[in-house]
């Protein structure tokens, strides 16, 4: 397999996930790239163009609802609440309590911790390797 195919596929998978393409299609796309460049001997970039350009040729299927959509919305909701808590706690750091619940320090730590965990999970989901060979 020509050099750089793994990096190409990792970038392609990340861009396709950002476009909301489902994992089955991503696995199909990355294995098609690997299969094609192995047969042709050309690099992925030569055969398919840049990952960004190739990713633009994919469209999200509108007739099949994404299985993870509920989790996706929930994760963004939690992240938004954590960001709001962080901002409110930060602006109220001279006060005794935030929202009548806890001290501003606790609010800042809690908001920052939730945001950090959310960012880590998001990063891991975007950069995970596409599925195993589709046979």
């Amino acid at each position: 397999m020509p050099k750089g195919t793994h990096q190409y596929n990792a970038k392609l998978a990340r861009l396709l996930r950002l476009r909301g393409i489902d994992e089955a299609q991503i696995r199909d796309a990355t294995w098609s790239v690997e299969s094609h460049v192995t047969d042709s001997g050309s690099t992925a970039e030569e055969a398919f163009g840049s990952p960004r350009r190739y990713a633009r040729t994919f469209t999200q299927a509108t007739d099949t609802p994404s299985r993870g959509r509920g989790w996706y919305v929930l994760a963004w909701l939690i992240a938004s609440l954590a960001a709001a808590l962080l901002l409110i706690s930060w602006s109220a750091r001279d006060d005794d309590e935030v929202l009548g619940l806890f001290s501003p320090e606790v609010g800042i730590v809690l908001g920052a911790a939730v945001l950090l965990i959310w960012a880590l999970v998001l990063g891991l989901r975007l950069t995970r390797r596409p599925g195993r060979q589709p046979v």
Binding site: S32, E34, S35, G49, A61, P134, V135
Partner: protein, 94 residues
Amino acid sequence: MLNQRPQHGYAIAQELERCGWGTIRGGTLYPTFRNLEAQQLIAGTWEAQDRGPARKYYHLTTDGVRAAAEHRIAWDRLSQSMSGLLGREESHDA
């Protein structure tokens, strides 16, 4: 091409190149396959290889066979019509 037997992407690209279509890049070929798959005119099946990664072999579906036959008839009509038109023009010029 897929009427005869299932083929994988690179083999189709090579066949097209042999027919004078020039080099067809994967970035052009596979989006076309995806469109045809979405229209259920072709279907692909992954097959493991003794060496190297698996290959996806594409074949015509029943709808695809029907559509190919219709396109062939339409093409033959167009081709005959154009040949007739060009023949008339040539005889007119002479």
